[in-house]
């Protein structure tokens, strides 16, 4: 059997690859959410407050 399309995966292999890709995607999405939540937790409630520093006056 000759073929110039390179490596040909079987249907079962394609299915496994799809499931692996989906799992990697879910893990990455979970990590994005986790890092976001941890960042908010680490910064504390102060992150929601507007800056209390006086505004810089621009002299014309």
């Amino acid at each position: 059997m000759t073929n110039d399309k390179g490596v040909i995966l079987t249907e079962a292999q394609k299915k496994s690859r799809r499931r692996r890709s989906l799992a990697i995607g879910l893990v990455l999405a979970f990590l994005v959410i986790l890092f976001y939540v941890v960042t908010i937790v680490k910064l504390g409630p102060g992150v929601m407050k507007k800056s209390e520093l006086p505004a810089i006056t621009v002299l014309a």
Partner: protein
Amino acid sequence: MSLISEERTVRADNLSGFAGVEDYWALLKPRVMSLVIFTALVGIVRAPGDIHPVIGFVALLCIAVGAGAAGALNMWWDADIDARMDRTRTRPIPAGRVEPGEAMVFGLLLSGASVLMLGLLVGVLAGALLAFTIFFYAVIYSMWLKRATPQNIVIGGAAGALPPIIGWAAVTGNVTLEPLLLFTLIFVWTPPHFWALALLKKRDYERAGIPMLPNVAGDDETRRQILLYSLVLAPVGVAPFALGMTGWLYGAISIALGAFFLLFAWQVYRKREGEAAERACKHLFAYSILYLFLLFAVLLGEGMVR
């Protein structure tokens, strides 16, 4: 061109492309991981001071993933041994579903990620302890001790005993007597637990060429050592109460559980022939898991109502 393509097409059937998500999950040794999560949680809950629930969750997640990564590295290194043992020959690498190199990269990636995350998001000491645990299990135990000495699981047991210390360090940033006692408890528990299994799986270990104590020193000596370690384990199990770190509930339960442990170990020591001997080993192995689980469950319960 056609020759090369044909070769590549043929090779496609032999690729490990069938590896499913469950195979990578199996590389993490989920049953070991669940014990690690449980004991680390006890370390976190019993540690004085507060930890934000999200940070506590991150700590547990990192410890679990780090333990899983060490498991994957162990399976990569021991694939030749696993292929010769009935208990392990269906694991993803000996079964041909995952390439050894893939398991190694998987283990290294997860090791690095879990240590970095724990160190940066929770605490440097906890991250360093996790890194040491992975190194100890993958390198000191798997690559060196396991094939070199019958004391392999005695010294290697330190890796399995570290999670409560990591959990404690994640909260407090230091290590005191109580987490060291929890470490000692798991450390002393490991030999009788594993040697009960080693007596049952002696032929398996012999076929794989692993110098477990029954294969090197014989069954009688193994039974003697099981009894000796159990004599040490029973008081170590009571020590957290004796030193005033726990309440009466733990004290009473640890005394009762320790007495039963000694009873099961005595049965293993006494019954040396036939089915009765095999049954005694099975009972001790099963009871040893229950023993550790119950002790840590009471520690967890007392820590939560404190």
